[in-house]
Symmetry: C2
């Protein structure tokens, strides 16, 4: 009886490692520094070595390991092929096969935002549902789509790239992706602060937001709670845009629940309330009333999603 | 060995019936008049009687029937529960259980647009793919989402309701659904004709489109092919809106292929070309190059999708 599994979240600065039992309980977590030298050629060997060391440390062997599931900061298609990972220096290759060779156990991988969404379904804010959509609000807007308990990765690994939903055809400033008018230009923590700064520069409005340097999404949500009129207007506009994006997703996959996460979700229930209000205003009547909840796993969502991938893959092997 | 299966497409005027062999080859098709009396209480019994008569006619028995799959003109959730069908007078009930009781064989059901999408995947324009999205352009805009070879129905049966994607926050005229600014207000055949009529009434532009009464989407596409400048502008705007909607769907589920159907798709390849052009302009770079094809089954898509539902359900039963 195999006893252990690993969930791994590969980022541009650190790799988050999670060591789990066969029921998905977290036994231990730690971090590795991401080695970006040599086009990231050492990243997978470093992870494999760390996995083997942890297993040896417990007195077990790799025979006791069910598998490894990984989140990767770039597109990964349904077959486990990484389609370039600019942050890490990676090109196109099958990461599942590569990691299986290095560890000797089955490996599964997905885009990091998709894997984090799976984590929130497994042990986080979306627990109890198997059709859910997560949106994360940080430097950008990330997302993931889960249908019937499984990630939708997409033919190009681009499913769940909700931050790049086209929202504003009039925008002239480019998004990081090269297009203009993407959701994340307005709705990410960075985007909300940028849009607010534009307003502050253009209008002589009386607001507490003038006195923050740097001004971030946190201050805007705090001022909203204090009743500041500009903050109120900014948060309402933000909620309207995110609510509209969710209404659009609502008539594509019509999930059980939307999970809102990322650094900005520390704002708490107000964030849910304002998005839910506009969602119900914009969405097709049959899809009204969808639940909205906050993500609860924070930076651990990726390792939980990773281990869920590994455990599900083991279950999918027919033993009839 | 069971030899037959049925695909049924229930509409507000007629019920399309398809009698298939176990490999999904169409043996015979016919229509029933939809009996709307008594809140549609006779519709399912009429279908069941017609199925039994067809089976008896071949000298077979219901023991030879694998199952029945049905498309319904309203939302049907993942469990086969119809969530009201206003056109038919139906309330909320489990249509799969009801039809199984009437026929004595397994029955599956889905929303008609979703089932038609499954049909196009099975034997139509989307054959060979198992992640596809269909949009149909007729009186309204319908749609369906297939992931991993199966329909996504959604918690409220509202998945694939692409016609109600919120597109224009400035619209003051209501859509049939009660919201304002839905995709189908502009992009359906009716919508395209309406928007064109608005322009003809407001501007003194020189165009052959003035001489049609009634003016329909067909004339607009025909005039586009002839080089009429207003028709060119209208079709480009239409393509831009549909391309943008597909770009949005592209970053949610990132399918292998988009299938365009409905009466308007008789316009042919020009419709594909104009949508594809704007899709690639709007979509996140990783999802560029997705295939666009025309639907090929026309009004038979629903019966093909129905039989696919029935055959898949039979395969899903574990016989280990």
């Amino acid at each position: 009886m195999k006893k252990y599994a690993f969930g791994v979240d590969i980022g541009g600065t650190t790799v988050k490692m999670g060591f789990f039992d066969a029921e998905g309980a977290l036994l231990e977590k730690w971090e590795l520094k991401t080695d970006l030298t040599d086009n990231g050629a050492n990243i997978l060997p470093d992870i494999a070595a760390s996995i083997k060391a942890k297993v040896a440390e417990t007195g077990a062997t790799m025979e006791d390991v069910i598998g490894v599931g990984m989140g990767v900061p770039g597109p990964v298609n349904e077959d486990g092929v990484v389609l370039k990972c600019i942050n890490l220096g990676w090109g196109v290759f099958n990461i599942e096969e590569e990691m299986s060779k290095l560890t000797g156990v089955p490996c599964k991988a997905g885009n990091d935002a998709n894997v984090a969404t799976l984590g929130e379904m497994y042990k986080g804010g979306g627990a109890g549902y198997d059709d859910l959509v997560m949106l994360t609000f940080g430097t950008g807007v990330g997302g993931g789509i889960i249908h019937d308990g499984k990630m939708i990765s997409g033919v190009n690994g681009a499913a769940g790239e909700i931050g790049h939903m086209p929202m504003n055809p009039m925008e002239t400033e480019p998004c990081n992706c090269g297009n203009c008018g993407c959701l994340e230009q307005y709705a990410s923590a960075t985007g909300l602060a940028n849009v607010t700064k534009r307003i502050l520069a253009a209008f002589d409005v009386n607001t507490s937001l003038r006195y923050y340097e740097p001004l971030t999404a946190k201050e805007i949500f705090d001022a909203y709670k204090e009743g500041d009129p500009l903050a109120k207007s900014m948060v309402e506009d933000w909620g309207s845009m995110v609510g509209k994006a969710c209404a659009t997703i609502g008539i594509v996959v019509n999930p059980d629940v939307f999970v809102l996460g990322g650094g900005m979700s520390k704002a708490g229930q107000v964030m849910i309330d304002v998005v839910e209000k506009y969602y119900n205003q914009y969405v097709f009547h049959a899809a009204r009333g969808t639940k909205f909840v906050l993500a609860t796993l924070g930076n651990d969502a990726g390792i939980y999603g990773g281990v869920k991938l590994a455990l599900d893959a083991a279950k999918d092997i027919c033993t009839c």
